[in-house]
């Protein structure tokens, strides 16, 4: 039988029918085989193989196979010419007891049909063998008694035979069938195979000798000796050395030989009556079968445990080797002894015999600062307050203290008392060092960040102040520019009015002169007075116009701003930033050479600045179209020798400068869009300050606008 014969819920009809047929054939065969051993009571034999088959089928499969069983049984009984009523009775009882047994064993006892544990064997024996079969034997016996019209005193015998037969089925046939329904271990070593062959050989020889009279054994020994006990070593050998398959097979072979011997009235059980022979044979088979099942179950269980243990050990070893953890097991927390794995010793740098694996020795290895923490945490964990999970320093044999991470779990008994604790340690020294390093670097970084932040804040403040002062300087420059512009406009107005006045005075003078000339002629000619009056009026109007012009000129030319003594360098310095900005705008390189003697002048500072600004703008205009040279402007203040200070504005315009005396006049300009007041204003300002203005060509190219101012002693010189 194979596991694939198991019917599952999704089996189709065809496989179900095939299975039923198969089971039916098995039951049929079992009944006929049983009949072979018929003794006085027809199908009721000591050897009820049918029950074994039906029970195995129902345990292995579910109750779907019952139809097949019924058909098989009834067919067999029919072949054996057993009356219908008896057939029905026997079939019914058989099916009912086996169904009940299968259901109870599987559902309530979790029966493992491999019979691998003693509890399985005992369950089978007790539930099926002693309880269910007992009741079914009673019912069957009563039924048979009634049907066979047997006498009352035969009931007991009937019952005994029936029950004993059922036990054969339960304890010999069904275990064999159930065990062989599971795959057999085929991968045996060569020695095991030889041993197995030897076992069967010896079994066969023994069976031959005991049951078949080989070696004429009965002629040399007392016939009364229980030679059958010689099988028990074989059974023990099969059970101890090999699993259930072999053990049950040995029992079946034994049983077969016993039946044959019984049938042929030979063997160790044939002394005494037929019944006694039956009973002895039955006892022998049942005993050997039960014994073999129990022994093999025990051995199998032990083997399985050993395998599991081995696997568990292997797993543990692999795990511990793989994880690099040192394991510890404090099997009795009241005791000092702790089991340490080899890795544990390794982590501490000791050999296993160099140090005692105790809690005390662990404490001696522990860093004094960590001992208290460890003990507190341990106690808390044992008392159920928190986990045991701690970083501690342990002194390695040669390397000194190293960081380890220890963890563990306590096990408590039913009264919640801690009795055992187990855990692991792992070397975390590198990790800890890395953590410390990280912490250190972190704090260093934080410190650096702080410093940098301070620095940045400082720079920020400085920048802010710088921006503020630049804004202030810019505002000042703007102010100065506005003032200069205003001044320039004012000066232009003044200069314009002066020039206009001068230009208008000439024609007015002519009007007056010609009017007077006409009056002289009119007086001489003694002509009409009205004409004379008109001409006189013309002349007066012209004179009045002249006065008006003078008053306007006078108003617009008012000298705004007072003169005061200043350092000439300061005057230029105050203008420097404005000039520098303007120079940059026009891509001009500006160079200011200050007075080395730090001289003073008495000037209207704003007017002088306006003057220099004008000359500067003229210089820039002159270099506007420079292609040969880069644009350079020099402002030079020179007070060497003399009582004058010379201020020059030197440009390097591409073209040779050609002086034209009209340049200094009002309304002269080389540019059509300009008014042409610049140099005229400059001249006026310079003359107003008692200086001289001149415009000369440089030796190579460009021009120099130069003006002088009278020097005055500085306030500190007095």
């Amino acid at each position: 039988m194979h596991a694939s014969l198991r019917l599952d819920k999704t089996a189709n009809v065809l496989s179900l029918i095939s299975y039923q047929i198969f089971i039916g054939i098995c039951c049929f065969t079992a009944v006929i085989a049983t009949q072979y051993f018929v003794y006085p009571y027809s199908p009721l034999s000591y050897f009820n193989f049918t029950l074994g088959v039906v029970l195995a089928a129902l345990i292995y499969s579910d109750l779907k196979v019952i139809p097949g069983i019924i058909v098989g049984l009834l067919l067999a009984y029919h072949v054996l010419n057993i009356p219908t009523a008896i057939s029905i009775l026997l079939s019914t009882v058989l099916i009912l007891e086996c169904s009940a047994g299968a259901i109870i064993l599987k559902r309530y006892f979790n029966f493992d049909s491999k019979l691998e544990t003693i509890s399985d064997v005992v369950t089978l024996l007790v539930v099926m063998g002693l309880i269910i079969t007992l009741f079914s034997a009673i019912i069957e016996s009563i039924g048979l008694s009634i049907l066979l019209h047997s006498e009352a005193n035969l009931f007991a015998s009937l019952f005994l035979h029936t029950w004993m037969g059922k036990l054969i089925g339960v304890l010999l046939v069904s275990p064999f069938l159930l065990v062989w329904s599971h795959p057999v271990q085929l991968n045996r070593t060569i020695f095991e195979t030889i041993e197995l062959l030897l076992l069967f050989s010896i079994l066969l020889v023994l069976c031959g000798c005991i049951f078949l009279g080989w070696l004429a054994i009965y002629t040399h020994v007392y016939s009364g000796l229980p030679i059958a006990f010689m099988f028990f070593p074989i059974i023990a050998w099969a059970s101890f050395r090999f699993e259930q398959h072999i053990a049950t097979t040995v029992c079946i072979i034994l049983a077969a030989f016993s039946f044959w011997a019984l049938d042929h009235n030979i063997g160790p059980f044939t002394y005494g009556s037929v019944s006694e022979a039956f009973i002895l044979t039955w006892l022998c088979i049942i005993t050997s079968s039960t014994l073999s099942m129990l022994l093999s179950a025990d051995i199998t269980y032990c083997k399985q445990i050993r395998v599991k243990l081995k696997k568990s050990d292997e797993r543990l070893n692999l795990a511990t080797h793989g994880s690099q953890d040192g394991l510890w097991d404090w099997s009795d927390t009241n005791n000092d002894y702790i089991w340490w794995s080899s890795r544990f010793y390794q982590l501490l740098g000791y050999k296993e015999d160099e140090i005692e694996s105790t809690h005390s020795s662990l404490l001696t290895l522990m860093h004094p600062e960590d001992k208290r923490r460890h003990l507190v945490m341990l106690e808390n964990h044992i008392n159920g307050n928190g986990a045991y999970n701690i970083d501690i320093r342990l002194r390695k044999k040669f390397l000194g203290y190293r960081w380890f991470h220890a963890k563990g779990k306590v096990f408590k008994d039913v009264k919640s008392n801690a009795f055992r604790m187990a855990g692991s340690i792992i070397d975390i020294n590198d990790r800890k060092n890395a953590e410390f390093e990280i912490k250190r670097l972190n704090s260093k970084l934080e410190h650096k960040v702080e410093l940098r932040t301070e620095e940045l804040l400082k720079i920020n403040n400085e920048l802010r102040n710088e921006i503020q002062s630049r804004e202030e300087a810019q505002a000042e420059q703007e102010n100065l520019r506005d003032q200069l512009l205003y001044m320039s406009r004012e000066s232009a107005m003044g200069e314009l009015s002066t020039s206009l006045a001068h230009e208008l005075h000439q024609p007015l003078m002519s009007i007056v002169n010609y009017s007077q000339s006409c009056l002289i002629d009119l007086n001489d000619a003694k002509l009409d007075n009205e004409i004379a009056d008109n001409i006189t009026t013309i002349s007066k109007q012209a004179l009045d116009a002249g006065s008006i012009i003078d008053r306007i000129k006078s108003y617009l030319s008012k000298n705004r701003g007072h003169k005061k003594i200043v350092y000439i360098n300061h005057v230029i310095e105050n203008l420097q930033s404005l000039l520098t900005l303007e120079a940059k705008k026009f891509n001009v390189s500006l160079n200011i050479i200050f007075d080395k003697n730090k001289s003073c002048v008495k000037v209207n500072e704003l007017q002088i600045q306006q003057l220099i600004n004008n000359l500067f703008r003229n210089g820039i205009d002159a270099m506007e179209l420079n292609q040969k040279q880069s644009k350079r402007l020099i402002i030079k203040i020179d007070s060497t020798g003399s009582e004058l200070i010379k201020i020059s504005v030197i440009d390097n315009g591409d073209d040779q400068f050609i002086y034209n005396e009209k340049m200094l006049e009002a309304f002269f300009s080389t540019k059509p869009e300009k008014l042409g007041m610049g140099l005229s204003i400059c001249t006026t300002i310079v003359q107003a300050h008692g200086g001289k203005f001149s415009l000369i060509a440089n030796q190579k190219n460009g021009a120099t606008a130069m003006f002088t101012l009278p020097l005055i002693s500085c306030p500190n010189d007095k």
Binding site: A501, H502, H505, Q506, P507, L508, M509, S510, I511, V512, N513, Y514, Q516, S517, I520, D521, S539, A542, L543, A545, G546, D550, E661
Partner: protein, 126 residues
């Protein structure tokens, strides 16, 4: 003999109108066309009056006055200029007898010339 009056003014119309009045007032008027002509003509023996404008293209009136003073010219200089106030002190300090600011009443000039001539003649007579 009529008193000699020389006029130097870059404005031709002003010079012409002034010389017309002076001529009609009985003076012997001569207009110079340029400062060079004036300087070349006026030597230390020239007598009379020179009506001098100040703002002129070649040379200013003050410059011309300076040259004439250096030559010890006997010409009496009267400034006739639109920039009267600005040069008045310089002109008078160098010996000019009057600075007229344009436009002025030419009768004032005529009266001054006549008066000055009369004083001179009286002094000569004495």
């Amino acid at each position: 003999m009529a008193t000699k009056v020389y006029i130097l003014d870059d404005d031709r119309i002003v010079a012409h109108s002034l010389s017309q009045i002076l001529r009609k007032s009985g003076f012997d008027v001569h207009s110079f066309k340029s400062a060079d002509e004036c300087i070349n003509h006026c030597d230390n023996e020239s007598i009379g009056y020179l009506l001098l404008d100040h703002k002129m293209p070649d040379m200013t009136g003050i410059q011309i006055q300076k040259i004439l003073v250096e030559r010890k010219s006997q010409l009496k200089i009267i400034f006739i200029t639109a920039m009267g106030k600005e040069i008045e002190s310089a002109a008078l300090s160098m010996g000019a007898i009057k600075v007229f600011v344009k436009p002025f009443d030419p009768n004032d000039l005529v009266d001054l010339l006549k008066q000055d001539t009369h004083v001179d003649r009286c002094n000569e007579a004495v």
